[in-house]
Symmetry: D4
């Protein structure tokens, strides 16, 4: 919406003769992102969703990360760094001294102001080895302002463990289920709840799990309706999707 | 919740001596699904979600389908049949005379009472060949009580076609995007809206599209946050997920 | 064992001078299979296991099938034909007039004498579309002398349907679970029983089920111990394995 | 069965007025697993099968492993740790001083009381490089109380090596066959015995073995009946399945 | 460029007070494509490239195709239909009576005015079975105004057949090479010429050709520089790419 | 060699002034293949190997096949057509009245003169369904002048069937082994003979055989040395390779 | 062409009796490549294209690299080394002291004379992590004499970032687009420009990106015409192809 | 044959009363392999083929390797170790002091007596990075007694490099061609020679070469007859196959 408004504003300035055609055209091409050379930070998206910028760190050079951190520090905008190694965290902290590190989740959180309040998100992990991915989802949802409840190590091998947690799980507006190996848990959970289930396959497993492919295919073929899927180990994506669902 | 209530009721009857232990145990195992022999209809789920039963027809014998249709007719419960061929439709109609057929979407709809009101769902199709899958999603969302707006043939090959539709698309509580071939549209759309994007890869394409695999992988790797994915050609799943999101 | 005995017998004949070296060598190479030209029936295996010969019909020419049927008729040996089309059944019946046809299971059974008694086998099918594969397993197990109990349409989408069947399922010496789509049921069942679970992925599904691959991978990665897997749609293999387990 | 009994007992207490409805409902949800925070130990399964708990160590943090070890020490329950590195073993030993380490098999065994007696299991390895997986299977079967006989380096490249071992192999109630590369051995063995053959593909090989995929597919397509398959390198699963078969 | 100009023109009208802000905003969203309901024809692209619209027919309903044909007839714009069956051709011809059909290439061509002149394109086919794909590429290049020379059945199995054609091939500004099976020809050709080689894998082959995958991978790994690849059987894409290269 | 000789001859003619430079260059480019328009027959290869031309018929149009048949009739050169349907055979026979049809092998043979004598080739088929591929190999080897002995239905499920055939198999100069499903037979055979084993995976099987992929991978990973592999169902390639080996 | 000329020259010398047949034959086989033992440098290709030799360094031993460097130094021919580690660079520099190292692009450039002038190439990178591949393409294009303009971090997640760069991008004769993850950018760009788009999938991503496979498939299925694709991470190939296009 | 002879001899001893039945049965099971515990050396095969034992070292423990080396030292039998690291070589040398190490080929050769003379083998490598695999093949062929000629770096990117080597290549009885990347060379070579071509795909390449899969598929689909294929990087297999072909 904000684009329409600024566009209308711009056109009205032109109409009133406050600016000329050339500067109107130039300003129309100036969109609210910041050009840091080979990195461009997009404040648009975070504005639109009311969630801070999420930065995926692997593959970015130290130089690029420092540029990004500086821009964040300058704008005092909430931001979250994902897949942050201890070393990268130390680097970022030199620029963002209040950056919080969650080692399990490999997240770096930077909150200049509290996020707007959102609904309830349940994060379920099938096995104890799925915890890092689940924590990533939980961290992002909390960063976005959700109230998060965690339910870990409740896999299908002992499905009775799930049942006495159901009353609590059913209170969530959105449910994230992280599972590796055969990835069956989201289908079982979705058969027992009425909210949407955001399934995250994890790369936990070996042999014919093929790095999470088995769990991914399993989740895409879930026979229970109401299951949607994100990429393998994509806790960030699951947490963000859950936050968008728990928004309204 | 309803299980808890009936359980409490049952236990109280036992406590009061109205029933004995054996019949308590028997009734505890009687859950609200109907056993039709080798088919079991699960009224649980539809009760829980407030959406009628969804029946996937391929692979079910004529005999099984008639049994299901009869049970629906008896319960006068809303139901939707998916991937219904013309022949199967004629068969089902003998039992359910008011069954509505949507040929494009291959859906058979049966509404004994109007669904409860839900929010807005936008259904976008990248190419004109993706229409059947998109219509499947739209049909299920309408069956669930959503207000659905359709935006077809707005693929990335001419991305400008998307832009003047944006104001309308942004009004949706949930957005379904169906695309085959390279499956790029959900990522582009998600970068421009604030709602969740439910991506449906379609099997439209040839050669290295590998029956929709290319689009599926593309969507799972969407660089825009807020994209979740369902199975290839799974319009039903996308429509149902959108309805669950647009519920609150 | 029988080979050792006949060998010992043969060597003793040689030792006693009843036969000469040349005929000893010739007889040593004569093993109990019957050479029908380009088909060889192996009575060894059926003797060893006490289960009749199992003949997979697809890919065999009419001529080959008739040869096999004739040999069976001659030996009056129990036999079971799998994946038998109606046409092939009619053909085989001309030679084996008592051949029983199970259309659901696509099996042709031919029992000249009742099989030896074996234990209990439970055959579970996740969805109603998995019935043909489940029936194939059940048919083979019955052919082998097992007592078979069927539990159909009890998939994970409504896991409560499974629970009140558990007391009966737990009585089985071996449990066959057929499931397509996400193939999660074997893992759930194995977490609730103490017998071995023989998982049969079925090709039921579409899109990213890739003809049963999703279910296959899911079952191979089952997080519950005690799950073993056979080929996609291989009801025969599952029924035979269950019979071998339920033997002792 | 034990669940039914405790449930009956609970309901009778309620009937007799010994407890009230609320505490009945609370106790019904208390199932015999132990909640260690983000790890939950499931004593159910081990009770049911009479085999101690099997713990897969990779992906578990030191903290999680110590919690598990402490719980085992407390319950004095038999347990086996799989894929245990030397380092993890040293860690676990600080809590469980009697933990036995089998380096070849990467197993840590902890037996507070001798397991119940089970039948005979033959463990066959095709090549000498398949030994670690075979030893894993053998170790688990021994842990479960089976008598295990090992037959190593008897692959199909010199099939005559198999033949003079056959009399011994045929004495087993269940046969585990571990093979990498082309994975042909289980099919050959199954053609010569009457017991079930539990095939374990190993990741031994290179190039088009694709980490054990070639062996896995080979085993799933075994033309000999009576072959069932577990995941690549899943010696634990094979040993457990063999133990369940050799139980009765 | 044309967008910039019309935008400037629009803004100037606004500046001069000839239009008001609301109609300026409305007209800014009106882009030069034609909305035919669920099909949208994009005249933009064809204008930009000076090549008529290319319409992929499979998956489009008769109704959709007729709408498209009518719009073409109205605009008298050059257009080419690909993968046109005989039946679809007859349908389209009712609207576009001058539509030319090339059966080999499965193309329908409709040229209201001669295309602008472009350079030379060589189209090489490895085997005689690759001819349909090669003809598709040749047809599109001719439609775009290129001079096309065909060289068929010159595969690597008899590489000497290629050598005496080299002088002619080297005259082309762009070279399309269609090959199935092992797909080696583009690499060999690229090692002998100085132009870019546009490789089209075809689905010609069987077994481990996996529908053209072998050829596709082969071409992507071409050790000769200057090879670029399009989708399996994508003659249209190759012909269009060659035309763009041969343009300047 | 023949190229060198004709080249030398040509250069000598030039040297002697019998021809001029231009005609020398023209003749140097004239290689012994025949240009039939979009089909080019290569007599080179057949000359070099002393085996007639082998023509793969699928994908060739009737027109192309007739052209080829006419050229063969004209040159009176031995030729073999593979994968010939009954219809194509009737077509070819109109031009080549002596064309012999082998229905099992889908081969059309055309021998104007007896082939040169070659050595012994053993063709082994694992199952009776592998016969068509085996017959294809046998037919090509016979066409090339080999003495072929067939051994069918001797798969690994009853490996004892193989052993009394070994003395005969060991007499072959080259051994072709066709097998589908798990494809284990070539490895077993190669462990028992001293000749090279040419393995042909067949597409016989279902489910996780993936159209012959399982057998192909199995054969490529054969643990016995001396196994080489051709494409799935490529009986022609196996027969030709065996003929080349049995040549010297 | 140069081959034809030297051949004509050679034949004329023979014709005139200046050389004899034997030396003619010997010289005909002497082609302009340099035999360095197990490495052969091919000056042919660089002559033909007017671009120096491109040497892919991984897998080459130090000894082989030094031989190549020495030959380059001797011929004073332009050359570019790709995927050069810091260590390999130091090694090569001992022979080629003027070798320029571009660390980002992992290129070693060696220009004895300025390349011939070519046209404009735009190099676009979707994300900042795609920079190394994009730089590789840019480096090769500059080495070939193109004028290169870089546009980095303009992925589809914020497609508005692309739009105000379009006027500049449209000036390029060839456009290289490097993208990982879902690889959607080339399709979007190609829908907005009239030049050919050379798409380079990068291995940037995780999980179901399968090392760049998702981006590769996406690009091969691009719904916009005019997209051609090179191997994953093949910046060199993209840069070379762009240079060949920008040549004329 | 030797088995038949010893069997006949044994039976004659029994016949003559020189031995009794029990010892006859025991000796019949004593086959000429040596049981070293978990390793069994098979002297059979080497006897049969007249080539020493080939031992694949990866995955074998130091202990197992020493056992094997000792047995070789004792039997003074020719043997070759493949994929030998420097460290393993040093270990083996302590037992086999005359073991020759070929670092390029990662082979350890141990020749107590010169091998029998065999024919000519040509070993061709497409690129200089394919040398290690080619050297492995060459080493094994030399070990088997062949005369080997090497032709390296003659890939299809400069196919003219191949042509002047053809006269030499054509002298070989068997031709090994090692190639990575697109793997096109074997098909080109086979089109120019009359011997069998044994193709070895190598894992040289990156991206969509998928560890040699692209080259493997390419070779399996070779359009030239007479190409057979071994596993990726399987130089040993190629060398052994070539030796078997070059034997007669």
């Amino acid at each position: 919406m904000e684009i329409e408004n600024s566009l209308r504003h711009l056109l009205e300035s032109l109409r009133k003769g406050e600016i000329d055609v050339d500067s109107a055209m130039e300003r129309m091409s100036m969109l609210p992102y910041e050009d840091l050379g080979d990195v461009k930070l997009d404040w648009h998206r975070s504005l639109r969703r009311g969630i801070g910028e999420i930065i995926y760190t692997p593959g970015k050079s130290d130089d690029q990360l420092v540029k990004i951190a500086r821009s964040i520090a300058e704008h005092r905008s909430n931001a979250i760094f994902s897949r942050v190694s201890k070393e990268k965290y130390e680097l970022l902290k030199t620029v963002l001294p209040d950056l919080e590190y969650r080692e399990d989740a490999r997240l770096g959180l930077c909150c200049f102001e509290p996020p707007k309040e959102r609904g309830n998100v349940a994060v379920i992990a099938a096995g104890s080895s799925d915890k890092p991915v689940a924590e990533e989802a939980a961290g992002v949802a909390e960063f976005a302002g959700c109230h998060v409840e965690r339910f870990y190590d409740v896999g299908v091998a002992g499905i009775h463990r799930l049942f006495n947690l159901l009353p609590k799980i059913r209170k969530a507006d959105a449910i994230v289920v992280a599972a590796g190996m055969e990835g069956a848990l989201p289908s079982v959970v979705a058969g027992l709840v009425s909210s949407i289930v955001i399934a995250v396959p994890t790369s936990v497993g070996y042999g014919a799990s093929f790095g999470g492919l088995a769990a991914l295919l399993s989740m895409l073929n879930a026979c229970s309706g109401g299951v949607v899927v994100v990429n393998i180990d994509n806790g960030v994506g699951a947490g963000l999707a859950a936050s968008l669902v728990a928004t309204k």
